[in-house]
């Protein structure tokens, strides 16, 4: 497998997103999110509902409304010879050119994202014509090709059918077909398999994997389950309370998680092998425990948002890199952090 080029396709720097509240100060849904994404790489953003993972994805396409970008940049570099463009500064037609074009997005609920009274093929062709300068006829044939690419049998016939004639898993394939018909460089998949059963889940993930490999699409896989990271992501960022709390190559984060929250997220998933525990670990257990220190974090106190300690809200936190390519967020005053500021990002592609 080839090495990814040294230029990141996307560099998100210090992103912060606020949501206004009627009777209170704005809610900071995303705070200081920073990462690099390379072509042909899958980055998993893992977190519970409310962690800010979806808002992060939406912000890249200017879809964070009613949230507001409070800070940050999202630098897009077509190639090393191109100037970087800040996606967060784009408005109107400029961002719409990216949306569904260079950056495609698929959502959890395929039924609500598809127009129920429009033939599936026409919907895909419409998206193609919106973003590329092709004839209606060519757009139509690209739609059929896209359906074939996502392994839908008899694509010519199925293109003439309506969304309700497809099963849940098939509809999600249609969404992916629509996303790839415009040949995006980045695919943002927000919980693409949550509503699907295990075998269909595996098929959809395999499909996304193939796009990454064959077309060097960079994928941002947004999920609540660290279980999905195994085998389907190169790197993973764990988010909580709007912040990246741990960032590392997928294999590293699964084998040697440093933050106790990541450990809890891993242990809460029932497994198909190994001993059956009486009780699954929950995040609540972590809150109750007295900050279990990972040996790899000696001297540092892992950052953890403690709702009972008002003072914690204004205390600074920082991502440190205790081992190569492995970042974890700690309280800034727990020890002088190494270097000034880290931009998590790993240039290598998947370790086979």
């Amino acid at each position: 497998m080839s090495r990814a080029p040294a230029t990141p396709l996307l560099e998100v720097l210090d992103l912060a997103v606020d949501f206004d509240r009627r009777d209170s100060t704005p809610l900071r849904a995303v705070e200081g999110v920073t990462f690099r994404l390379y072509p042909g790489q899958t980055l998993a953003i893992v977190g519970e509902s409310g962690s800010g993972k979806s808002v992060t994805g939406l912000s890249l396409l200017g879809l964070q409304s009613p949230g507001r970008i409070a800070r940050g940049r999202a630098l897009w570099r077509e190639s090393s010879s191109h100037d970087a463009e800040d996606l967060l500064s784009l408005r109107g037609d400029a961002i719409r050119a990216y949306r569904g074009g260079k950056i495609a997005m698929i959502f959890q609920e395929p039924m609500t994202s598809l127009n129920p009274v429009m033939r599936v093929g026409d919907q895909i062709a419409e998206a193609v014509r919106l973003h590329t300068d092709v004839s209606a006829r060519d757009a139509r044939s690209r739609a059929v090709d896209a359906l074939a690419a996502v392994a839908i049998d008899e694509p010519h016939r199925r293109a003439r059918e309506y969304p309700h004639q497809f099963s849940g898993g098939m509809r999600q394939r249609v969404m992916i077909a629509m996303a790839i018909a415009c040949r995006p460089r980045v695919l943002i998949a927000d919980e693409p398999t949550t509503a699907l059963d295990a075998t269909t889940q595996a098929q959809v993930l395999t499909l996304i994997d193939r796009l990454r490999r064959e077309q060097r699409v960079a994928v941002i896989l947004i999920t609540h389950s660290l279980g999905l990271v195994a085998g389907h992501a190169d790197v993973a960022a764990v988010m909580h309370s709007g912040r990246i709390l741990e960032f590392a190559p997928a294999n590293t984060i699964l084998a040697r998680p440093l933050h106790p929250y990541t450990v809890a997220l891993l242990r809460c998933i029932p497994t198909i092998r190994g001993p059956i525990r009486q009780r699954l670990t929950t995040v609540r257990d972590l809150v109750r425990s007295v900050e279990p220190l990972s040996p790899g974090l000696a001297g540092h106190r892992p950052w953890w948002p403690n709702e009972f300690h008002e003072a914690d809200r204004t205390r600074a936190t920082v991502l440190i890199e205790p081992e190569e390519h492995h970042w974890v967020r700690v309280w800034a005053d727990s020890k002088a952090p190494r270097g000034d500021w880290a931009i998590p990002g790993v240039q290598t592609t998947r370790i086979p």
């Binding site: 075998t199 269909t200 660290l226």
Partner: protein, 269 residues
């Protein structure tokens, strides 16, 4: 809260319904269900012992939820027998079935959809107790509801709030509190955690494990997630196209799957 209607014809307490047979709590024999002339469940048979869990796994469309609904008589069966405490539920008259329903409760996948949005949590959890006239007066009922909420890990002030004020996981706790209000002997759980984050799923599964140990409730546990079923269930039945294709203890089914389809399900995880 209103006054309790006079309890002139009280339903006998749940214990009186219990028979003294030593057989399984639930015994399903040759159950078939047809929709529009098409057989969607064919000849399904299984046993579930008291206080134990049986998991039924399969993909969507395999018929696993249909089995659960037919057992509860929420949909009619075409043929077969559903022996609960030795009596065939499918042969019961409506009054006898109503009594049997006290001992059999259900928890669904979508906790939001199974809770009446216009009712306060207290009313929701109290409803089965009211229907079966199991509380002498208002204060007794309220105390009973409080203890159920607490048992399911909900804060005391939950009683006065409405379902939309709760997260998905808390809604499922409310649904479970309602389901255990009558101290059932069998709880049918249809994908109870499939709509939840894995971290929330863990706490709901822990709650169900805990309740089973405390109350000795048997679970018929329907899920597409084999790992969850392995965690929860003593025995596992694998369904495909309306039929049980493999059935055994969790060790047998997961460690030594006999059927290629079961092996594929395990490999997909």
């Amino acid at each position: 809260m209103g006054t309790e209607p006079p309890t002139d014809a009280p339903v006998p307490p749940a214990t009186a319904l219990r028979t003294t047979n030593d057989g399984p709590l639930l015994s399903v024999r040759d159950l078939s269900v047809r929709f529009d002339g098409r057989e969607v469940v064919s000849g399904v048979s299984f046993d579930l012992s008291e206080g134990q869990s049986l998991g039924i796994v399969g993909e969507s469309g395999s018929g696993k939820s249909t089995v659960a609904r037919a057992v509860l008589r929420l949909i009619p069966a075409a043929s077969g027998r559903v022996l609960f405490e030795g009596r065939d539920l499918l042969a019961l008259g409506s009054r006898a079935m109503r009594e049997a329903r006290r001992s059999i409760q259900m928890v669904f996948q979508d906790p939001g959809g199974s809770l009446n949005p216009r009712m306060r949590v207290e009313e929701i959890v109290a409803e089965p107790l009211r229907v079966f006239r199991l509380a002498a007066d208002g204060p007794t009922l309220r105390r009973r509801v409080q203890s159920l909420l607490q048992r399911c890990g909900l804060p005391p002030d939950a009683a006065d709030r409405y379902p939309h004020q709760f997260s998905g996981g808390q809604k499922q706790r409310i649904a479970i509190a309602r389901a255990i209000a009558l101290e059932p002997r069998l709880l049918v759980c249809d994908e109870p955690t499939s709509a939840l984050d894995v971290s929330v799923q863990a706490s709901i599964l822990n709650l169900l494990t805990h309740l089973q140990r405390d109350m000795g409730i048997a679970y018929l546990f329907i899920s597409h997630d084999l790992a969850v079923v392995r965690h929860m269930c003593h025995r596992i039945a694998v369904m495909r196209r309306g039929m049980i294709i493999e059935h055994g203890t969790r060790e047998e089914v997961i460690e030594r799957p006999a059927h290629a389809y079961t092996r594929a399900l395990i490999a997909a995880i």
